[in-house]
Amino acid sequence: MKRFIAVFPLALLSITPLQAQPAGTGVGAHLAYVANDAGSGSDLDANLRGELFGQLRFNPHLAFELGYAHSTSTEEEGADNQGTYSIDITSDDFYGGVRLQSQAIGAWSLYGRGGLLYYRSEIDFAEEFFGLKPGGEIEEIEEGIGYYLEAGVSYAAAPELLLDLGFTYRVRQDYFEDSRRPFDLEEMGVTAGLVWLLR
């Protein structure tokens, strides 16, 4: 991150043309700010998601990526005549997919990412009854699969360094799939990060 902070001002000033990177590898990191939606009636708050990934680049326009993402807590608190409740979901994803990179125009190019993920979410649930009955809390672990999509622009701050800014959309599917009311958890927001291209 420190390196990112050091490089970024220089990147803004430079007009370094993107060097067409041959096949190789790379590593990257993204940080996203996302809104959460679990379907009709849900009101989960926004959270952050950090990603670390590696890539295997087949040519300048196509790479395969494997990564890990951690989404910080997204929480909802509600109340009705039965009592009050809170739901807190924290997720870890392991994902794999492709990254497409357009032909550069100067230092700028477009990119897209997409693939499948495996998630493991920790769900902390608490419920109280206005002090009229004893409340409590439980923890549930949910695991499943999903997918992700991302699109944005890349800026070649240096021949080996891409700075990404894009929109991200991620779905973790089928929470509590055997229950009466299963749901998918969607994340949508903005993401920024970097990719360090290795030879």
Partner: protein, 309 residues
């Protein structure tokens, strides 16, 4: 969309104002709330020309209103529908629901039940998996009353009338039916010269007059010129007020709290009155219930104006 706070405000005002009203007649169908044990107020009302009935309920323990929480709830069932009654304001203890009925003779059962999943059916998440189950409150669950709705009621007078004096007669007429008692609940909205307004409910017992097909109220029974905030508070007519505001759909109107009612200085310019007349039949209290009432009713609403010179 309903506004529970505003309904609660009206009910709060109603608690203070919805007293016996001005007719001086005794309510023959509503027992007092018992100081000890369980009391209930259960009423199912079918408005004129409606196919959905309003069910309202409240439960007391040792004269204290009891909110139903953590899986306890009121359920209304007809032969064709069922509905979980909702508290309009959390912890208010007043519950209201609407359900289809097959007709005026369709029995409706109102009961306190325990089902932790059904009670949370409005929540979006999987309530069968994410659930803290504290168990039922044995003092409050298991009471049930069956109610038959009386014959339909149609008021054939006073509609859109204007009255100029508090001593004017409001002559109500209807086709005689099978009711044991007639009551009325007026929602009164008064405005002064500066445009300030306040709204309050006013309950009146008309008596066992269904067979006569007529009753004469005075405007003063609904819009007294004394300090009406001093009216004796009573619980037993709140359920009627609950039903009245529900069927009039007064949820979205600007209701005022008691502290905002300038009764001492309020000079009425005019008042609009929505007067709902109920044809009521009383039914036995559930077993082991010490007070309250179980009532089936039909209703019709007329609007008129009090416009003093």
């Amino acid at each position: 969309m309903t506004s529970p706070i505003r309904v609660g405000t009206l009910l709060g005002v109603g608690l203070l104002l919805a007293a016996c009203g001005g007719t001086g007649k005794q309510d023959e169908l509503r027992d007092p709330i018992s100081q000890t044990g369980i009391s209930v107020g259960l009423q199912v009302n079918l408005p004129r020309d409606a196919t959905n009935a309003d069910a309202a309920a409240t439960i007391f323990k040792n004269a204290q209103r009891q909110p139903l929480v953590g899986g306890d709830f009121f359920m209304a069932r007809s032969t064709v529908d069922e509905a979980v009654l909702k508290s309009l304001e959390n912890l208010s203890g007043d519950y209201l629901g609407r359900l289809a009925v097959a007709g005026p003779t369709d029995p409706v059962t109102l009961s306190t039940e325990y089902d932790p999943i059904r009670a949370r059916e409005d929540r979006w998440y999987p309530v069968d998996e994410l659930l803290i189950d504290p168990g039922p409150n044995p003092d409050l669950v298991g009471y049930s009353g069956e109610i038959l709705i009386p014959a339909p009621l149609q008021i054939t007078s006073a509609r859109n009338a204007t009255y100029a004096s508090r001593s004017d007669n409001i002559v109500l007429t209807w086709t005689p039916g099978n009711g044991q008692q007639m009551t009325s609940n007026a929602v009164v909205t008064c405005v002064d010269a500066s445009g300030r307004s306040y709204r309050y409910p006013r309950f009146n017992v008309l008596g066992n007059v269904d067979g006569a097909g007529t009753f004469t109220l005075q405007v003063n029974d609904i819009i007294p010129n004394t300090n009406i905030i001093n009216a004796v508070a009573t619980f037993v007519h709140e359920v009627s007020t609950l039903i009245t505001v529900a069927l009039l759909e007064y949820y979205s109107y600007g209701l005022v709290s008691v502290s905002n009612v300038p009764l001492a200085t309020f000079v009425v310019q005019h008042c609009d009155v929505d007067l709902t007349v109920f044809r009521e039949i009383g039914y036995p209290l559930p077993q082991n219930v010490a007070g309250g009432f179980v009532i089936g009713s039909t209703s019709d609403t007329v609007r008129f104006r009090f416009d003093p010179p």
